[in-house]
Assembly symmetry: C2
Homo-oligomer: 291 residues x 2
Amino acid sequence: MSDTTSYTPPRIWTWNQPNGGRFASINRPVAGPTHSRELPRGKHPLQLYSLATPNGVKVGVMLEELLALGHAGAEYDAWLIRINDGDQFGSGFVDVNPNSKIPALLDCSGPEPVRVFESGAILLYLAEKFGAFVPADSARRAECLSWLFWQMGSAPYLGGGFGHFYAYAPSKIEYAIDRFAMEAKRQLDVLNRRLAESRYIAGDDYTIADIAIWPWYGNLALGQLYDAGEFLQVQEYTHVVRWATEIASRPAVGRGRMVNRVSGPLDQQLHERHDASDFDTRTQDKLQASA
Amino acid sequence: MSDTTSYTPPRIWTWNQPNGGRFASINRPVAGPTHSRELPRGKHPLQLYSLATPNGVKVGVMLEELLALGHAGAEYDAWLIRINDGDQFGSGFVDVNPNSKIPALLDCSGPEPVRVFESGAILLYLAEKFGAFVPADSARRAECLSWLFWQMGSAPYLGGGFGHFYAYAPSKIEYAIDRFAMEAKRQLDVLNRRLAESRYIAGDDYTIADIAIWPWYGNLALGQLYDAGEFLQVQEYTHVVRWATEIASRPAVGRGRMVNRVSGPLDQQLHERHDASDFDTRTQDKLQASA
């Protein structure tokens, strides 16, 4: 195998060099804040601190779906966390998420702010708070939770595994790319078989399982992740493509994926969101700015 | 960097060779069953299909903790799934978990069996079913869920990342070992800072967050995972060690980690569990058998 080397790990690992390719500057072997910085706080009950990565998009979509259903309590301020600039290591952010990852949520609707971190926990917290997008019936709830947790345990192999070694690592390591490409295809096939028999992931209804899975595997199946559509032959997963296309057409998904987005087409970027009208003014402002 | 090669990925990935080192035979790019096989079904309300890996141990511990609290409805049969023999690809298992991973649970207490897969979903399902090990109060529940999901999203970097490249891969790839060792240490530090201020992960009470995190990071901190204690200098994480040691001393944890265990000391192996008394007869039988 072309990667085989004579490398022997030392007895004790030491932090010798930047490691991580494109994201080398934000990978560290220690946790905790690197600098003191308060988080901004807006007027709405919910404060989201995020960036429109696949994990971030989940929460933007969820909040827009809740608002579309008429849940005024889901009004939110979305603040941009630029992870390449190290915003996630500010003391205020670490207080909300000690793991220094986006997204993080602060629910200020009660007497004391409640912190929630990890995208899956945030989705479930919001689903329970508003009684939406998670089934009440025990068996259907179990199915929804199973797939929600499936996404949490699977996507690290797609993102931190396949995506890292295929797209971001400083050199192409055949063994690692091969290992994680195989797993990414297996995961797509798991979903494809499920969606061959079911309109949505957890059954007949659109739930937080879809909201969690779509930004990763839906975008992957639509060829919009890691430029890997041809490599993984994503068009073969026809049921995933059908499902991903349907979900992409939801208006709340269209809005949610713009929240805290800082790349791609200008008219798809809403760096901060503080009001429903921001989606309209954003388009106008951006188009004027780029004119 | 010693791993740098001139490898260029092909346009389309193909499955050319076994990949995965020690677990090569069970890694595939497709999902679904490979053979027809029914799952056994015992007399108890809950049927567990598992193996005592860190993910499997979570559920054994949870069920033993529930029984220790007096929840007779948590009585269970635990059936062994030998993943190196491909038991997880049998049709009956795939029906319970389409992702072909242990652990999987069937709740037969109602009119129709309910399937639950993914260890985190199983823990939450059982916690809600019995009203135990998850806080009822909204803020404390949010903290518990955040850490539960933290484990789900983090452990793939420890298991599929660090553990694979450090302990199981067919060659030692410096870049990958370095990348995932850094992340494993960061994760230990996240927990160490949390446990410096809190007796248990989610606060003053022992919850499913502890039950989920202990088999991975507790065992790691006690030097019982991947033989990596010295490499990662786990003794530095003194609060994790304190917490891991306390949890290891719980009688239910002692029993739960034996369930579906097929390696290690004979008196710690209970291949199947069908009755509380199995823990006693097991010890006797095994010691006789090895005499």
